[in-house]
């Protein structure tokens, strides 16, 4: 059995779907057991990443898609946001994520102002891969100080 549940969603690169995606991530993060503040931080980071793609797609006048993949572990969540328009093999893409490089695509993201800064500040790890589109790869760990090992998920 895999150590994580994987959920992938594809949305058109349009501003009206950014809030739908951050609320989806919020729901998934609740399942993992994140605190309210951690979830709110994650909502901002995910919105920043998706907004970057949406604004870029609009600047170029393209009708692209955004693929958002989330891997839910017992103690962390990994979120990938890709503008390549193709579904990806999560484990293959994850293996290809290298250390952070200040390349052209990152420069493009940085033009968004505070977006990248917020992503890096609010998530535990943020990495980029520009192999055939931009993939943002973000990880956040559940705060062990707040949630004990023996706490069970609350079903709603």
């Amino acid at each position: 059995m895999r150590a994580f549940d994987y959920i992938e969603l594809r949305i058109p690169a349009k501003p009206q779907y950014v809030s739908v995606m951050r609320l989806t991530i919020s729901g998934l993060a609740t399942r993992v057991g994140f605190s309210y503040d951690q979830i709110e931080d994650m909502k901002i980071a995910v919105s920043e990443a998706i907004t970057n793609v949406v604004q870029h797609a609009y600047n170029d006048g393209e009708d692209g898609d955004i693929v958002i993949g989330s891997a839910l572990y017992s103690d962390k969540i990994e979120v990938m946001i890709s503008d390549c328009g193709n579904s990806f093999n999560f484990e293959v893409v994850r293996a290809n994520i290298g250390p952070y490089h200040e390349n052209d695509n990152v420069e493009r993201l940085r033009e968004g102002g505070l977006g990248l800064f917020l992503m890096e500040t609010l998530m535990d790890e943020v990495r980029f891969n520009n192999d055939g589109g931009v993939t943002v790869f973000m990880t956040k760990y559940v705060n062990r100080e707040q949630v004990g090992e023996d706490v069970e998920s609350v079903s709603t």
Partner: protein, 114 residues
């Protein structure tokens, strides 16, 4: 999923109440609403953000642009009744050092909905 803005002019003070979510979808509406404010020398514009339940860098960008516009015309801008979440956003970006903001610990957390 929307943003509403209402203004009340009271002599040299213009009070604005902003409600809803500020992201890339609603930002143009907020910017247009703020652009309707008549700025004059000595004016105090006070924006109440207590009902803003989501904001990201798109919203920060709009408030920074508006702040610069108000300062240029010798007016004053104050953001008031910020929730702890919004206060945090202004603090980690360093904007709380530049802008006049007032947080309100009594502001109840409101959850965002679609």
């Amino acid at each position: 999923m929307n943003v509403n803005v209402q203004f009340r002019e009271d002599g040299e003070i213009i009070k604005g109440f902003i409600e809803g979510e500020v992201d890339t979808y609603t930002a143009p509406l907020l910017r247009d609403e703020l652009d309707t404010i008549r700025i004059f020398e000595g004016v105090l514009i006070e924006l109440d953000l207590s009902q803003v339940n989501y904001m990201d860098s798109t919203g920060l960008g709009i408030f920074v642009a508006f702040y610069k516009k108000v300062l240029k015309q010798n007016g004053n801008l104050k953001l008031v009744a910020l929730s702890s979440r919004l206060t945090r956003l202004f603090e980690i970006t360093g904007l709380s050092e530049l802008m006049d903001i007032e947080s309100n610990k009594r502001v109840k957390t409101i959850n965002e909905s679609i």
